[in-house]
């Protein structure tokens, strides 16, 4: 009886608590490194897919000559673009530190690259929120 109660409690405990991480910490980890929030919760398939896909989109975006936005309060479009880029976490900071993302708008592909990187950032925010939801038990 006691064993059954213990197993029921374990089954009802969100994964985030079971693996010893706070849900918000898993969300932040997922934001910093795509898929890390899922990896820490032993969701290996999702972690690999998110890591590969988001890095591929961000890397292709930079290789296409995409532009990374900067913090500019006076321009709402640049500000929104910066927030979208920021969603990519350490990938964004690494690219900025490496001096990448200066933009090559002389051809259409550069414009596409900007969109690729923005999409990578926004998808990464969604995956980080997904990691949080799993940790608090809203998702399986």
């Amino acid at each position: 009886m006691e064993e059954q109660t213990r197993s029921t409690v374990v089954a009802d405990t969100p994964v985030g608590r079971r693996v010893g991480w706070e849900p918000y910490a898993l969300g932040v980890a997922g934001w910093l490194v795509p898929g890390l929030g899922h990896l820490l919760q032993r969701k290996l398939d999702r972690a690999v897919v998110f890591f590969v896909s988001i890095l591929a989109l961000a890397g292709l975006g930079l290789a296409m000559g995409g532009r990374l936005f900067s913090w500019e309060l006076g321009n709402i479009f640049h500000l929104l673009g910066f927030l979208g880029n920021l969603g990519a976490g350490l990938v964004f900071f690494g690219a900025k530190l490496a001096g990448l993302g200066t933009g090559d708008l002389s051809r259409a592909l550069g414009d596409y690259g900007t969109t690729f990187f923005l999409t990578a950032g926004l998808l990464n925010v969604l995956t980080a929120l997904d990691a949080y939801d799993i940790a608090v038990g809203k998702k399986g």
Binding site: D45, R46, V49, F50, S53, I54, A56, L57, L60, L62, A63, M64, G65, L100, D104, A108, L109, Y112, T115, F116, T119, L123, L126, T127, D130, G140
Partner: protein, 66 residues
């Protein structure tokens, strides 16, 4: 090195659309579905929908070059 990569990476509009649709559909499928069968079906549906809508919008905008 990056400059060389940028010069080397030349994609047509359709190739860029296909690569974009592939990765976004993959992430959406794993975010929204739990079982592999459902993920595969959602991925194929989303990927084809991206291509179809992209082609349809391109076709609609064809008479308006600027």
């Amino acid at each position: 090195m990056v400059a060389g990569l940028v010069d080397a990476l030349v994609l047509t509009h359709f190739q860029a659309l296909s690569v974009f649709a592939f990765f976004v559909s993959l992430v959406f499928a794993f975010l929204t579905k739990q079982r592999m069968g459902a993920r595969a079906r959602y991925f194929i549906w989303s990927f084809l929908a991206f291509l179809l809508v992209g082609l349809a919008l391109g076709w609609l905008m064809y008479p308006f070059p600027r």
